[in-house]
């Protein structure tokens, strides 16, 4: 199709303008508001006990979520690609469920299940607090981040096929050796990409986590909850901007990592 110079230019302007208004301006405003009073103000705002606790809690949730998602995600992907069992189609659909279900629904469901009055409420009454505790927030985060590792590893498994694994077995490798030496190195880029996506989503999760968190500053606030409570409850707009910038900074690092990895992956 031949497009005239004028059309091409105006299309470009529209596309860039769209991105600018919807993405760049909001982020720019937050950055500008954050650093307007100076760097020291920003540092002070993100190093209060509540902020530090929120950062730690967010990182803790990521640290628990990622290994669990890696183990079960890889296992699920292998089952989906290599398995020949009934209900494989159903499992495919279930894996995508977190993409379709609103996080807030996840939060409500978790309360109904694990809350004091829920099906597994006995655990709560016995003193092991799931809802309004860290376990609840981890459960919520795992739910919303579950598809990433599976969906990134699956196509790679398809692509590599089973011949390399069969070759390893004829050379004397047992199941575990084949997995560690052949399968895992072969899927490592897909897996890494899945992990990066999981980290980004886990850090940014808000809807599901707010439902199951008690929300006490310095105790059970993640970074997203901190932004929310500073803005809504404390009317500390500057604090909210600063915390949001911190969140964005971490996300930016993750995004950068992702781009680098992606480039490395396409080199192969």
């Amino acid at each position: 199709m031949k497009v005239s110079r004028g059309t091409r230019l105006s299309l470009r302007v529209v596309a860039l303008g769209y991105l600018f208004v919807l993405l760049a301006v909001p982020i720019g405003v937050i950055l500008w508001r954050t650093f307007e009073p100076g760097l020291s103000e920003f540092v002070a705002s993100i190093s209060t006990p509540a902020a530090r606790s929120a950062l730690n809690l967010s990182l803790l949730i990521v640290a628990i979520t990622v290994p669990i998602n890696v183990v079960f995600g890889v296992a699920t992907a292998i089952a989906l690609v290599r398995g020949r069992f009934r209900g494989r189609g159903l499992l495919q659909a279930v894996v995508d469920l977190p993409f379709a279900v609103s996080p807030i629904v996840v939060g409500v469901a978790l309360i109904m299940l694990w809350g004091a009055g829920g099906w597994f409420g006995a655990l709560d009454r016995a003193g092991f607090q799931v809802i309004f505790g860290i376990p609840g927030m981890v459960l919520a985060t795992i739910f919303v981040t579950l598809p990433f590792v599976v969906r990134e590893v699956e196509p790679v498994l398809h692509e590599i096929g089973t011949e390399q694994e069969q070759a390893a077995s004829t050379l004397g490798a047992d199941g575990w050796q084949t997995f560690w030496r052949i399968t895992l190195p072969a899927i490592r880029w897909g897996l890494t990409y899945g992990i990066v996506l999981t980290v980004a989503r886990a850090l940014g999760e808000f809807g599901a986590v707010i439902m199951v968190s008690s929300g006490f500053p310095g105790v059970s606030q993640t970074l997203t909850l901190l932004v929310h409570s500073r803005y809504i409850d404390d009317h500390n707009t500057y604090g909210a901007y600063a915390a949001a910038t911190l969140l964005m900074g971490i996300a930016l690092v993750v995004l950068l990592l992702m781009t680098v990895l992606d480039r490395k992956r396409s080199d192969r």
Binding site: Q166, A167, A168, S169, L171, D174
Partner: protein, 336 residues
């Protein structure tokens, strides 16, 4: 020695192996030859343990390995598409089996060096498979399979993915390698020329059954049935019987043809045919003919005979067969 006894394998209602029994003598290079879907790959993979049999047994060097996994069968396997470990260098690929077995580093290094030299990849040891040509990858795969000193070497269409020139080179090379290393080797191929070229024994498979086993000369000259005859070498149908095109003699004079034909036992008789086309093939000449019955066949005669006959299109000649490779009556059901 590999012994397969009464092997059966079904995929749904399709019988890939239908009561197959086969002995493969130690030190031989045996080709499993057949069209696609004949069960040759399934048979090889069953020997390797990559496929499990529905019934029947496999023994390798007297040991029943039917229920053993591939890693405990003492085999080396080479795949059509190389199955190279993409994330490892050539050296690590070849060393894989030894690393798994936790052999001492020095021993592994020595063995790998030796194998890389045998397969001619000394200078490529630090490359990755993606940086090798198809032929080099397959040689690497061979070295990798040989590194663990397998009792048997199994090759599944090893040259199938390579282009014609490399394929011929590599199979000559495989033949020489086998003469040096002497490991019992089984090669799956659908290419009769390849089987005749490298193997000292050929098992012809068709529809999950073994049609005939023997050395290449026996199979070519005394095929057990029309299928084997048709699959190994070209055939022509003369008077309802299958003959090799080079066993057909053309005569100008009918009386001479009849007199000479009378001396040949079980001959299909003298067939009058019209020359449709004369095709020079270098050393030989192919003559496309049409018999009175409407049956078309081709005779392959030497250049000199063709010159003496002075054949022209549209002329009638008298065809007879000198020696027939097959002694079976033509069965239309087996026609190729």
């Amino acid at each position: 020695m590999i012994t397969v006894t009464s092997a059966r394998k079904n995929y749904g209602s399709f019988a890939a192996l239908d009561d197959v029994s086969l002995d493969i003598p130690s030190g031989s290079l045996t080709a499993l030859l057949g069209p696609s879907g004949s069960g040759k790959s399934t048979l090889l993979r069953s020997i390797a343990g990559l496929e499990s049999l529905d019934s029947g047994t496999v023994t390798i060097q007297g040991r029943d390995v039917t229920s053993e996994p591939p890693q405990r069968r003492g085999i080396g396997f080479v795949f059509q598409h190389y199955a190279a470990f993409k994330h490892m260098t050539v050296r690590d690929n070849v060393a894989f089996g030894l690393t798994i077995r936790k052999r001492p580093k020095a021993e592994t290094a020595r063995k790998v060096d030796e194998l890389l030299e045998i397969v001619g990849l000394e200078g490529f040891q630090h490359r990755y498979p993606a940086q090798l040509s198809g032929g080099q990858r397959q040689r690497m795969a061979l070295a990798r399979a040989l590194a663990v000193d397998p009792q048997v070497l199994l090759l599944d269409e090893p040259f199938g993915a390579l282009d014609a020139k490399v394929r011929t080179d590599l199979r000559q090379w495989l033949r020489r390698l086998h003469d040096e290393v002497h490991v019992t080797t089984v090669l799956v191929t659908h290419d009769q020329e390849e089987a005749l070229d490298v193997a000292d024994r050929i098992a012809v498979l068709n529809k999950g059954r073994i049609e005939q086993v023997g050395d290449p000369v026996t199979l070519y000259e005394r095929p057990a049935n029309d299928f084997v005859m048709g699959f190994l070498g070209s055939v022509a149908q003369l008077g309802g019987q299958l003959v090799r095109p080079h066993d057909i003699v053309l005569e100008r004079d009918r009386a001479t043809a009849l007199a000479l034909d009378a001396k040949v036992a079980d001959s299909p008789g003298v067939i009058d045919a019209v020359v449709e086309r004369v095709v020079p093939l270098g050393f030989e000449v192919r003559v496309d003919l049409r018999a009175d019955s409407g049956e078309r066949f081709a005779a392959q005669i030497t250049r000199r005979d063709a010159a003496e006959l002075q054949l022209h299109e549209g002329e009638t000649v008298h065809a007879r067969a000198v020696a027939r490779s097959s002694v079976v009556e033509h069965d239309p059901a087996l026609a190729i």
